[in-house]
Amino acid sequence: MNPVAAEKPRSPLSRFWHKWRFHINVLLLLVPLGFMPEYFADAALSRGDTGLGERDIGEVTVGPWSLRLAELHNEAPQLDGPAGYMKSFNAALCASCREQVKATYLRIGKPRSLRAAGVIFVGTPYRMSAMLPIPARTRADAELWITMEGWDGAMHQASIPLSQASPATLAWLSTQRGTP
């Protein structure tokens, strides 16, 4: 609270500090400015303006049907509190099967039954998403299984290598070896 120090002469640096010390917080404005491009990119991604996801995986045929898969973010799985590491995938159903498919599921490893088909996709057939838990001990040669269930009770499955579905996840897994 004593802006005028008793000792003289004062260096230009000290004068500068005394003059501007309470205005340095203006620099905090750099934080939102810096994050602004990311904010708008995220908003565009969540609206679907920049495609299904950050990285397209491609069309996957599942029995008579097919769907287009994408990674929401082209990055390693993210820790989601006690739920563990999660990875988001987006999907769009083929135009001809939108009315026929009742539900779509995603799982690492082949499901034993429809009841254990994995996480269910949420959203419209045009763009739906699923948060898939990725255990740190997942093997590098693991497969991502897609299960689709029809309104008539039919069930179809297909799989793609995890390395194809998400190279970023595979890279992350290689750093997780040895951790439980």
């Binding site: 609270m1 004593n2 802006p3 005028v4 008793a6 003289k8 010390r21 309470f22 205005h23 917080n25 203006v26 905090l28 404005l29 934080v31 939102p32 994050f35 602004m36 990311e38 904010y39 995220d42 908003a43 565009a44 609206r47 679907g48 303006d49 495609g51 299904l52 993210q78 820790l79 509190g81 006690p82 769009a92 135009a95 009315e99 026929q100 009742k102 539900a103 009841r115 269910i120 996709f121 949420v122 959203g123 419209t124 057939p125 045009y126 763009r127 739906m128 029809g150 309104w151 008539d152 009770g153 039919a154």
Partner: protein
């Protein structure tokens, strides 16, 4: 310690609380003030958001008619939810999904069902809220550090309120004898302004700082996996109750009006504000709105195939603690009773922003004065004199 020096310390504390971060506090106040009326600003700027009535006696369409009108205009567009803003001069906000994978909010006229326009890609409302609420810092693991940065300001704000009232002796007299001296120079004017708006804003500053303190606690609880919620984990529609169809076409769902009727039967007096359509074949349709208590919503999850109410979240389901915590956000934003409450929040938000500025101006003017005085007696040790200046100033402020 003498009474005088104690009040000097309080005064110093009061000055120091916001001074080093005045600009940050100011921007948070200004963006918060804008966020309160962001919806109304958009209404002014964006004619498709307005619910113009074709004729004076035109009735509002019901939800099924709205759905039918959208289906007719854009057969491939899928509706995800319909919400009805608090003020009747707003068009309905309908969240839709397009075949190309884009999603958008479209504005639908509640009287004609016409899709009047699409929300612009730059979402001013979301942007001001994100800037105000978390300084645009992204949420990655739990709450963003920007959220902590902003909500932490609640503590100096609460302390400013308390120390301000301690420093301002017999502040209640200010209510009866309001003083705003315009012709005595900037220093006097801003001092009067700071005190006058301060006492009239006591309630508002208390509301804002207490609710923001809750936001700080909320983030802390979440990030430490401490839950105080009594809300059950969202369930899914049981497999048995989702019908199969021989021809492989989707099972028919109940109409939205049926769903609303079912919800009203369970929540008396429900003034429904939104209907969310199921997210997939195994998820519920939900209807929510207020009834009775303006600060909380009540919702019902309805089986879209049978119309049974599967779950409800009622006022009576909330614990005593949740009554407090769930009321915090509407109290903070002023969004619980239409335009007039928002305008009151907006006005006091402006006043609060001005208090940050006037506080700074008082300090700069006083410092300028103190500096000038000190320079006059430049070769003396100025410690005691500066203290004297401050004491003089602080007495002036507290009078």
């Amino acid at each position: 310690m003498s009474k005088k020096s104690r009040s000097k310390i309080w005064f110093l504390v009061h000055s120091w609380l916001a001074l080093p971060i005045w600009f940050f506090v100011l921007i948070v106040c200004v963006t918060g003030t804008l966020a309160v009326v962001s919806q109304e600003i958009l209404w002014l700027a964006n004619p498709p958001m307005r619910a113009s009535q074709p004729s004076d006696d035109a009735p509002r369409l019901n939800y099924d008619q709205i759905v039918a009108a959208i289906k007719k205009a854009e057969p491939d567009t899928l509706i995800e939810s319909i919400s009805r803003p608090d003020e009747s001069h707003f068009a309905l906000d309908v969240e839709v999904s397009y075949p190309d994978g884009r999603s958008a909010t479209v504005y639908v006229n509640p009287y004609t069902g016409t899709i009047q326009g699409t929300a612009p890609p730059f979402d001013f409302k979301a942007f001001t809220r994100a800037l105000h609420g978390w300084w645009l810092v992204p949420f990655t693991h739990g709450y963003s550090w920007g959220w902590y940065l902003v909500s932490f300001l609640s503590l100096p704000m609460l302390a400013s309120l308390v120390t301000g009232l301690v420093v301002y002796k017999r502040f209640w007299k200010g209510f009866f004898r309001p003083t705003l001296r315009i012709r005595h120079g900037a220093r006097i004017f801003w001092g009067d302004f700071h005190r006058l708006s301060g006492i009239w804003s006591i309630w508002f500053i208390a509301v804002i700082s207490v609710t923001s303190t809750w936001f700080l606690i909320q983030a802390f609880l979440f990030d430490n996996q401490i839950s105080i919620s009594t809300e059950p984990v969202a369930a899914v529609v049981p497999r048995e109750s989702v019908p199969l169809s021989a021809d492989g076409s989707p099972a028919p769902m109940i109409s939205l009006e049926t769903a609303i009727r079912q919800a009203r039967a369970r929540i008396p007096g429900l003034d429904e504000r939104f209907v969310s359509l199921p997210d997939n074949a195994y998820s519920y349709l939900s209807v929510g709105g207020r009834s009775g208590y303006p600060l909380m919503y009540q919702t019902a999850d309805i089986n879209p195939y049978t119309g049974d109410v599967a779950a409800t979240r009622l006022l009576s389901d909330r614990s005593g603690l949740e009554w407090v915590t769930e009321s915090m956000r509407p109290l903070h934003t002023g969004d619980f009773g239409g335009i007039w409450i928002k305008l009151i929040w907006f006005f006091f938000g402006l006043l609060l922003s001005m208090m940050v500025l006037s506080g700074l101006l008082i300090w700069t003017k006083r410092t300028a004065l103190a500096t000038a005085n000190a320079l006059k007696r430049n070769h003396k040790t100025s410690g005691s004199q500066t203290a004297a200046t401050i004491r003089h100033e602080s007495t002036q402020v507290s009078q």
